[in-house]
Amino acid sequence: MDGLAPRCDHTEGCITCGDEAIAMEVLAVDAERGLALCAKAEDSSARSTVETALVEPVAAGERLLVHAGTAIARAA
C-alpha cells in the first residue's frame, strides 16, 4: 500500500467504509492516467495515489477531499 496506514480499527475511524473522506494535498499530477500522488493534509508522510477524474483539472498544491482512493471534491 502506498503509505496510508491501516485505519480500520476501533480507535480511529475507517477511511474507506465509514463514508468519511479525508483532506489530501496534491504533490504530483499524472493527467494522462487521471491520477495524482497526494499526501494526507494532517500527516504529509502518508501518501497515496488518487483518482482525479471527478475534480479535474488538478494542480500540485491543491487540496482535495479523498474517499476510497477517489477525490470527490475540492477542499477549500
Binding site: M1, L4, P6, R7, C8, D9, H10, T11, E12, G13, C14, I15, T16, C17, G18, D19, E20, A21, A23, E25, A41, E42, S44, S48, T49, E51, A53, L54, V55, R63, L65, H67, A68, G69, T70, I72, A73, R74, A75, A76
Partner: protein, 375 residues
Amino acid sequence: MSGGMKFVEEFRDAALGKVVAGEILAAVDPHRHYKLMEVCGGHTHSIYRYGIDDLLPENVELVHGPGCPVCVIPMGRVDDGIAIARNEEVIFTCFGDMLRVPGSERSLLEAKAEGADVRMVYSPLDALRTAKANPDREVVFFAIGFETTAPSTALTMMRARAEGVTNFSCMCNHVTIVPPLRALLDSPDLRLDGFIGPGHVSTVVGARPFEFIPADYGKPVVISGFEPLDVLQTVLMIINQLDEGRCEVENQYTRVVPYEGNLRALEVMAQVFELRPHFEWRGLGFISQSALKLSDSYAEFDAELRYSVPGVRVADPKACQCGEVLKGVIKPWECKVFGTACTPEHAIGTCMVSPEGACAAYYNYGRFASEKAVV
C-alpha cells in the same frame, strides 16, 4: 507542517467550541426537548471521539442514524460474499471493516482462516490492481458504501473496461441515503426534531435531495462537516431554525459541499449503476430503490451473475437490537447485549463491528460515561 494542519486545528479549537456551546445554551428553550439525528456514521464517531455530547445542554439529545454502510448490511449478503470467496480461483477483496461483519455462520475473516483467499483493500482501485497483478486468478471486489464511495467503484469499473481487465468483477452493495431516511421518517415510533445532514455524501449528491425532509415532514436539515466545531455549529443552526419556526435545508459545510453536488460523480454513477427494485437493510427491513447494482451495460463485471450465490434472507439474531439503535429509538447501551455478549471483539450486531457504528463508537469512547449516567 503544511497550512492544512492549521486548517483542521481551527475546527478543533476547544475555546471556540466552548463559545459555540455557550451560544447553544443561550439559544435553547429550556422547556423544550430537542432530539436531533446525525445520519452519518462519521458524525457518530466524531461526537463520541471529541465528547461533543458533553458540551450540549441536557435537553439537546443526539441520536444515531443509519449512516454506517457496514452496519446496515444484512447477514445474507455476507453469506453471499463468502460463497463467492470460497471459489478456488477467486481472490475476494473488501474494505477492512467488512472482514469482521458476522454472516449467519461465519465472517469473511473466518472464511479466510478456513482457506478462502480474502484480502483487505483500501480502495476499489487497489482491487483492480490486484486483478492486474494476478491475471490467472479472478478478483472480486465487495463494493459497499453510500454515495460517497459509489463514484469510486464506478470509476474503477470504467477503468477496468477501458484497460480490458476481464478477471475482475464487483459484488455491489452500494446503498443510497434518501430512501432509508424516508423509511425512518415514516416509522411510527420515531420522534425527531431535526437532522444533522451527511457531509461527505452531500459532496456527491448535493443538498437538493434532502429538501423533501422539510417539505414533506416539516423537519430541518443542516448538512455538516465532521470536526467538533462543525457539529456544534450545525446543532446551533438546527436549534435556531426550530426556535425561529423555520424549516429548511441549510449547509454548514459550504467549504466543501456545493448545493448541486458533484455532477461528474453523479454522471459516472448513472453510467455504471442502476437502482435495485429493493434491498434489505439490517434492522430496517426491505426498502424500495435503496441500493445500486451494476447496470446492464456493465453486466459482464457483475460478480452476482458470474458466480452462484445462495441469496438467502437471514433473520437478525434475536438478542440484537441494531434495528432500534439504527432508528434512534434506543441508545446503544440500552441494548440487552451491549458490552456483555456484544463487544467489538465478539460482535453480535453490525453496529458493534464498524468503528463508525453507534455501538462501537459508544463502547470505545463513552462506555464509562454511560455507566455513570445510568447509575
